[in-house]
């Protein structure tokens, strides 16, 4: 490759990285935490933790209770029942309620695992925020997902240009010059992290891009190939959907099908109930499996006779073709749901590595312009970017930590998205504002990094002080919070020492004979 082309690619890599840096960092760090959202859900709700359940209530009785509670509100259909599990020791039932004016609303209720009786509803809180800030940035679902998906596409191009401009990959994998200048240290760490996380980041960028841009690709495809008929496009892709027969019939219990799946080594998690009360009613039991890289293995059961119809390891939405299999693998690959907690811990570590890599790229870009020969803007401009870098990136970590505290320290009845969002955004804005008003950007970053570290270390302490029962899921959250916090405090300590040494070194060099 000629030098001019290499320079162009390098320029693109650095400009695109800087323009999208804060956004990419937000998507990467939020995704790192989103992987653990079921575990965070249990961590945030000690009241349900450690609940053991014996014989499960029949899901259809639970559905009956749901229908009784909501039948006066309108016509009910599209039922989904989430079965109790370690990270959610109660039933959750969701249904679509259509009022007389044709307005549809989905309502999610909780039920006791053993008795099937309704239990206190809890508003969406920390886990919902953690998951959906990553999935659609808490914007409108279509716009938010598309933005996150486009960031995945840019990440793919950044990865490709990064590989092309770094010609000595093997050497850079093992090179971090800890004793050299800050700029070299950050640059080496950026390169090394980029290479070590390369397979992971490529996979995450591709799967994330797919999951995000499908919402804008489908309307375009429907517009051109289906005369704008999106429903026709969906029907061709996922098959025709049946309608209720209108002939009433008694429903068989769903537990036998669930037990049969368990005895086959599958782990049923969700039950879809279609055409409830009709003679063509079906149960679709969705199970996680460690034998196949699919979102769910699915068994369809005739709800009137109880006879099993199919066992489809690629789930009903995907045909048994190469493309279908690859598509079925994308969601579990992206969210790391196919290998239990050890895999999630690995995803967390790699996700943090990826986030730090993005952050270091931003820091290197500013450092080269502030203290190097390049850049055609004023020092004040680069100093402002440098301050915002520290405030926005370390502030995001602090905002997450404060949201964790808010969800545990506030009155459980008051915990909802408004509270979590206010604490999260308030902390983030305050951190950015603090960094922006400090003269020394590096010192502000050290302070925020140290605060974030201390806050993370405090999370397991808070959990232990409350005396809530410990489970594998909450131990994982506590352990990762402690490890992350300790690392950040150490990093802040080292940066502080380095900052303190720099003026002394400069004074020493200015003295005669220095």
């Amino acid at each position: 490759m000629n030098t001019e082309r290499l320079k162009r690619l390098y320029d693109w890599h650095s400009i695109a990285g800087v323009v999208l840096g804060w956004f990419l960092f937000t998507v990467c760090l939020s995704g790192t935490l989103a992987v653990l959202h079921p575990e965070i859900n249990l961590w945030a709700d000690p009241a349900v933790r450690g609940t053991t359940h014996g014989e499960l209530a029949e899901p259809i009785d639970v559905l009956d209770n749901y229908i009784t509670a909501h039948e006066a509100e309108g016509e009910l259909d599209n039922f989904f029942i989430w079965l109790p599990k370690d990270t959610q020791p109660y039933y959750q039932v969701s249904g679509r309620i259509m009022d007389a004016d044709g307005n549809a609303e989905f309502q999610l209720d909780r039920f006791h695992a053993e008795t099937g009786a309704p239990i206190a509803a809890k508003e969406d809180g920390l886990a919902y925020w953690v998951l959906n800030l990553h999935r659609h940035l808490m914007f409108d679902r279509t716009i938010g997902r598309a933005l996150v998906g486009i960031s995945g596409i840019y990440m793919m191009v950044l990865i490709l240009t990064g590989i092309l401009v770094h010609r000595k990959i093997l050497r850079e994998m093992f090179t971090v010059r800890w004793t050299r200048s800050v700029h070299l240290k950050w640059k080496d760490a950026h390169n090394a992290l980029g290479i070590w996380t390369l397979p992971f980041s490529t996979m995450i960028a591709f799967t994330g891009a797919f999951l995000g841009v499908v919402v804008i690709v489908l309307p375009v495809v429907a517009f051109t190939a289906f005369k704008g008929d999106q429903e026709a496009a969906i029907e061709i892709i996922i098959g025709e959907t049946s309608t209720p027969s209108g002939v009433e019939a008694p429903m068989q219990p769903a537990l036998p099908a669930i037990r049969a799946m368990r005895s086959e080594g599958l782990n049923p998690e969700r039950l879809g109930v279609h055409h409830w009360g009709n003679d063509n009613a079906e149960y679709h039991v969705y199970a996680t499996t460690e034998d196949a890289l699919v979102t769910y293995a699915e068994v369809q059961v005739n709800a009137v006779t109880g006879a099993r119809k199919t066992l489809d390891l690629t789930s009903d939405a995907y045909p048994d073709t190469v493309s279908g299999r690859v598509l079925a693998a994308l969601t579990p690959l992206h969210y790391g749901t196919y290998g239990g907690l050890p895999l999630k811990i690995l995803y967390y570590a790699l996700g943090l590595g990826l986030s730090f890599m993005v952050a270091l790229g931003m820091l290197v870009w500013v450092e080269r312009r502030l203290n190097g020969p390049i850049g055609n803007r004023s020092d004040a401009y680069y100093r402002t970017i440098s301050r915002l870098n520290g405030g926005i990136m370390t502030g995001l970590g602090l905002a997450y930590a404060m949201a964790f505290y808010a969800s545990r320290l506030a009155d459980p009845e008051q915990v909802n998205l408004d509270l979590i969002g206010t604490v999260f955004l308030g902390t983030w804005i305050a951190a950015a504002g603090y960094a922006l008003t400090r003269k020394d950007a590096r010192r502000a970053t050290v302070v925020l990094l140290g605060l974030t570290g201390i806050a993370c270390v405090g999370l397991p302490v808070l959990d232990l002080l409350e005396g809530a029962p410990l489970t594998a899921a909450t131990l994982t959250v506590n352990g990762l919070a402690f490890a992350t916090g300790a690392t950040l405090v150490t990093a802040a300590w080292r940066m502080r020492r380095r900052s303190a040494e720099l003026p002394a070194l400069a004074t020493q060099l200015q003295q005669p004979g220095g």
Binding site: R5, I153, Y154, A209, V217, V221, T224, I236, G239, Y318
Partner: protein
């Protein structure tokens, strides 16, 4: 302005190729739809990369616009799926 134009044309080019593939008669429609949906993000990234790889200022725009027009012609001539 050029970067914005390149990004827009890269998206249009990607969508046009995807739709043209969908309207061909290769394999069954479901598999074609899945293939298109699966590979579009990768192709979008590839067109964006190409637009920066090519050293001549306006050639990527011309190439991608040409491909988009060719695909649009095919889409116009082909039978819609509904």
């Amino acid at each position: 302005m050029r970067a914005l134009a390149l990004n827009l044309v890269a998206f249009l080019c990607t969508a046009a190729i995807g739709s043209a593939v969908l309207l061909t008669n290769i394999g069954n429609i479901t598999d074609r739809a899945f293939t298109v949906v699966l590979w579009l993000p990768l192709f979008w990234a590839a067109t964006m990369f190409y637009s920066y790889w090519d050293q001549r200022p306006w050639r990527p725009l011309a190439v991608m616009s040409g491909v988009t027009l060719l695909c649009a012609g095919y889409i116009f001539m082909a039978e819609p799926l509904v």
